[in-house]
């Protein structure tokens, strides 16, 4: 299994990128060359140089250092959204699939309703109702993301439900909740967790988008989407301000995507 992963250069690239992002987030204070929020009007709108690797923005903040610190924000959003929505989605999906009947109907109709909005639109309206802040974007994204896990887990549970080892636990008289949590969910969780690792990237992308339209992180926060948003004012004079934060998003999303694709190839070869 490990060999198959190592054999795919793209998966390796994904792992390396993800590792790089995690290291950057942890060691941000060491890697950053400047204080990410320090304003220095004397050095505003400077192009990339040895002093400022990625140049400076409209108030002289060092873009490289801001991007480095931004890793923390993006990674935190990605992880928290998945950590909130994954368990909720998984439990609901398992209940729907395992118990079936009316409960299944209700849960699945609820997912239908949530999925009848393009994700970013629903997240946008929830975040707008809650008020612009990074925490609210996090809640809004979690509220839009869970139905995907519910659907995936439900379909794996349905295919597991009548397998012999579940039948055996039932015959032994195990408590249904025990069967659900000890037998069904652990065995049904693989495809959904692959999706979750892919989603880390997509959540980060969506959060950057919401920040770009002013819902998420507020300036002066070094959030990548918010940085791109304010770069629009100076795009004529400072191409670097509009370029590097986007590359950071691209690399991060790409890293998680490649890693997720690699995991899928290893764990679920049918899907290739």
């Amino acid at each position: 299994m490990v060999r198959r992963m190592i054999n795919s250069p793209l998966t390796i690239l994904g792992l390396v990128l993800v590792l790089l992002i995690i290291i950057t987030a942890i060691f941000a204070p060491v890697i950053a060359t400047h204080n990410p929020t320090e304003v220095n009007l004397l050095s505003k709108l400077e192009g990339p140089s040895g002093e400022h690797f990625f140049g400076t923005d409209e108030v002289g903040r060092d873009i490289f250092s801001r991007i480095v610190y931004g890793t923390r924000i993006s990674l935190k959003i990605g992880l928290l959204v998945v950590l909130i929505s994954f368990p909720i989605g998984t439990i609901l999906g398992a209940i729907a699939g395992y118990i079936g009947g009316r409960i299944d109907q209700i849960i699945m109709r609820a997912t239908d309703i949530f999925l009848s909005f393009p994700g970013i639109i629903l997240a946008m309206s929830i975040a707008a109702a809650l008020g612009p802040s990074i925490e609210n974007v996090l809640l809004a994204l979690a509220a839009t993301w869970w139905p995907w896990y519910t659907r995936i887990v439900r379909s794996s549970v349905l295919s597991l439900k009548n397998s012999e080892f579940i039948e055996a636990s039932r015959a032994l008289g195990a408590n249904p909740f025990r069967i659900l949590f000890k037998e069904v969910i652990p065995n049904a969780i693989a495809p959904a967790s692959i999706q979750a690792s892919l989603d880390l990237g997509f959540v980060i992308l969506a959060a950057a988008g919401l920040s770009f339209i002013g819902l998420g992180a507020q300036p002066p926060s070094p959030e990548w989407g918010a940085m791109l948003s304010s770069s629009r004012e100076i795009i004529r004079d400072a191409w670097w301000a509009a370029t590097f934060p986007g590359i950071a998003i691209l690399i991060t999303v790409l890293g998680f995507n490649l890693m997720g694709d690699g995991l899928r190839d290893v764990l679920d070869p049918k899907q290739r």
Binding site: I113, F117, G119, S125, L205, G214, T243, I249
Partner: protein, 337 residues
């Protein structure tokens, strides 16, 4: 006849979804943002004043009465009044919607014209250079923030090279064609107004490509994997053995079957493009629903945000209904159940 019955059944099935959508939007717009009366009156409001306005706005009624009023409003095209434009939201939506529809349809056209051939070529040259190239291209497309790509396009083609316009729908001085659909390119063609057509088309290029970048990636990947599956089947080998030319086998035999999963994905892609319009329109100052929504967010104009949300959800499920119907019409194996 079968097709009609299928559509009818699907529309019936849409009813619970529509009710669900209205409950969800009601919940978001009426329950989350705290006390609307307090919001309207501001920080200096007296408790009595708030109570009075609450009574007047019907906020003291039971929730189901409020919900009933909300749904009744929707049926009468009453989505509230935009606090920013001071116009009924429905009128604003009517004004901005054609621009979004035009942009999204244009982006979908680019997606289909590029994504499907790329996927086919990629599959037919599996693991060779063209395949590697398209796969990397598709990967980047899916991982790229569209609004960032838009900024780069703006920087390069508008600010540096100056060869394409970077904002709006028409050049200054060109007046919009007579209103028929509200989509400038279509209206200009229908009225034979070539000046407006050319201008409208040129303005569509950058936002259209930007919006299509993500969906091209999605469609390319889907076409590729679907084609790979089909290309291994016996009837393709038969067609090849009978000496059919490569292109004939690929496009005449394989694509016909390989295209089916791609069609279902088109509905989702359309939703993605509609959602993306919020970001892309704000980059290119494209006067559509997305720009309207972003403006509304900036000015805390909540009825407007909810209006856009509701309209896009309705559009999304309608498009999916159309696509599912198409799917059933194209694939005779499915018997409308």
């Amino acid at each position: 006849m079968d097709a009609l019955r299928y559509v009818f059944k699907r529309i019936l099935l849409m009813i619970p979804i529509l009710i669900g959508i209205s409950i969800l939007t009601f919940f978001i717009s009426n329950t989350i943002p705290g006390d609307p009366a307090r919001l309207i009156l501001g920080p200096k409001a007296t408790p009595d004043g708030i109570e009075e306005l609450r009574e007047e706005m019907g906020l003291n009624d039971p929730l189901y009465v409020q919900y009933g009023r909300y749904v009744n409003g929707i049926f009468h095209g009453d989505l509230g009044e935009s606090t920013y434009s001071q116009q009924p939201v429905i009128d604003d939506l009517e004004r901005y919607f054609p621009a979004t529809l035009e942009l999204t349809l244009f982006a979908m056209l680019i997606t289909v014209l590029i994504g499907i051939p790329f996927g086919v070529i990629s599959a037919s040259k599996k693991d060779k250079l063209p395949d590697q190239f398209t796969r990397v291209f598709a990967l980047l497309g899916v991982a790229m923030p569209a609004f960032w790509l838009g900024l780069l396009f703006l920087l390069l083609f508008y600010l540096k090279l100056g060869i394409l316009p970077g904002s709006g729908r028409l050049d200054n001085g060109v007046s919009p064609p007579d209103m028929i659909t509200g989509m400038y390119t279509v209206d200009a063609l229908l009225t034979g107004n070539m000046v407006a057509f050319k201008s409208a088309l040129i303005h569509l290029i950058l936002p259209g490509i930007t919006q299509a970048a993500v969906t091209i990636g999605m469609i390319t990947r889907m076409t590729r994997s679907s084609m790979l599956e089909v290309l291994q089947s016996d009837y393709i080998r038969t067609a090849q053995a009978k000496g059919g030319s490569e292109n004939r086998v690929l496009y005449g035999h394989a694509l016909r079957n390989g295209i089916m999963p791609v069609i279902t994905l088109l509905g989702m892609t359309f939703g993605h493009a509609l959602g993306g319009s919020v970001l892309v329109e704000s980059v290119f100052s494209w006067p559509g629903l997305g720009k309207y929504a972003v403006n509304a967010i900036t000015y805390l104009d909540f009825p407007a945000v909810m209006g856009v949300t509701l309209l896009i959800a309705l559009l999304f499920i309608t498009v999916n209904l159309i696509i599912d119907t198409m799917y059933h019409l194209i694939d005779p194996r499915l018997k409308y159940n």
